[in-house]
Symmetry: D2
Subunit: 137 residues, 4 copies
């Protein structure tokens, strides 16, 4: 298991006329969560693309528990529970500053060659970085 946390301030643009964060914007928050998780592994999604691998999304599931509000400083906790093979799953929990759980989500991504879009295995250098941190816990 590898767990990473990052913070994010809700923008006005992300609210809708119900006065809360639009339900579709959590996908962006999940993106921030997994991108910062990768950065904590001493790499980045940008690095992944530079090395010729893209990671399109296969599926996403979201549960909306409490609405996030404008200007909330959210905590996004991202978990990689299993070592990736051809796919990688990220789980997300989003909290407000008081520690209330607002949202739960998960995305499954697939590793593909950036040019051919053919599926491939998680690159060894990435798996190694992840293994190191898996051992720490």
């Amino acid at each position: 298991m590898f767990v990473s946390e990052t913070k994010l301030r809700v923008r006005y643009s992300e609210t809708d006329q119900m006065g809360v964060v639009y339900y579709g914007n959590y996908a962006q928050y999940y993106e921030v969560g997994r991108v910062e998780a990768m950065r904590e592994l001493s790499t980045s999604y940008s690095e992944m693309e530079k090395r010729g691998i893209a990671m399109p999304i296969l599926s996403m599931n979201c549960k909306y528990i409490r609405p996030a509000q404008y200007d909330d400083l959210l905590i996004i906790r991202t978990t990689i529970a299993d070592m990736p093979a051809t796919r990688i799953r990220f789980d997300y929990e989003i909290f407000d500053e008081k520690g209330n759980l607002l949202n739960i989500g998960e995305t499954t991504l697939v590793f593909v060659d950036k040019v051919t879009f053919k599926p491939c295995r998680s690159p060894k250098w990435f798996t190694e970085l992840l293994k190191k941190r898996f051992c720490e816990r």
Copy 2:
């Protein structure tokens, strides 16, 4: 069962640097699907809010089958399979112009009082409109 179809043109703003529609934007497409489904029932989501009821989202699930491309004229097929009680579920299938299935999704919404945010039952006038069309099929 009530089924409704609507068309939608992919905007440039909805693509990302992978050259396809960003995975988070399908939530907006689902919104267009269910809003137009409600319009086909001779009402609208706007009407629902004017009558004091909001419909926040409880959960969303998405499966990404093939990527939608810039300028694609998508067909969004929205299905209400069950008569709503305190919740309503919408299912979505998104096709490109050639009939390829690109994306499958579902959202569950809850009826709430717009002011107190307390859950309530699907309003009778809405259930009646839906019943009429359920009978037709």
Copy 3:
């Protein structure tokens, strides 16, 4: 002068907690305006990119006169006032269904080679299409 009109339904996702369309979303409406203007010229922005030319934005100016509301069916009137050379300017006026003017904007785009990003002239085939319609008015 070439003038084109298109319609667009305001999405819930495009509103913010002020209860109106978020100011940053008009750029997307302008995009729809100019893309449909190009389609009316029997081509498309997509076609332009396929022929190796991209059209990044140099500048944008917006005036917010009245707010657009959720579910409004907006009319976007797009004008190309001058024949393009290395740049092309689009002017936009956005109206609601009652004919109220809500927003005025303009964008200046530059023609560039899609690969090198070097500026180039408006391609002849595009200028010809535009000339035909300039003559009609």
Copy 4:
């Protein structure tokens, strides 16, 4: 004059298929710039709304100099050059990490009563906060 700087990481969702930040997303970056400028004044836009005042946008102008890229850590420099009366103008300069100027913009906002939407003057408490910081420079 009051100047404030804040940092912002470009999200994947903010790019488009040209491989750079979509031109309409700078409005969101400006929003982050002025919101953080207000926070540096020991208040917030959220506080402003809680005190009954909203600040809709009257106009926006943007100049696109160089494209921002995915994962760039942008610096947004926000300037209030003049003490506000019924309107307030914010100027923005956006830089990448190497100090390259990418984008210049400005927005003019109007103070309005949040309920009636009638224009009003900049509230005294806000003007005082701003004055203190104007004096420091």
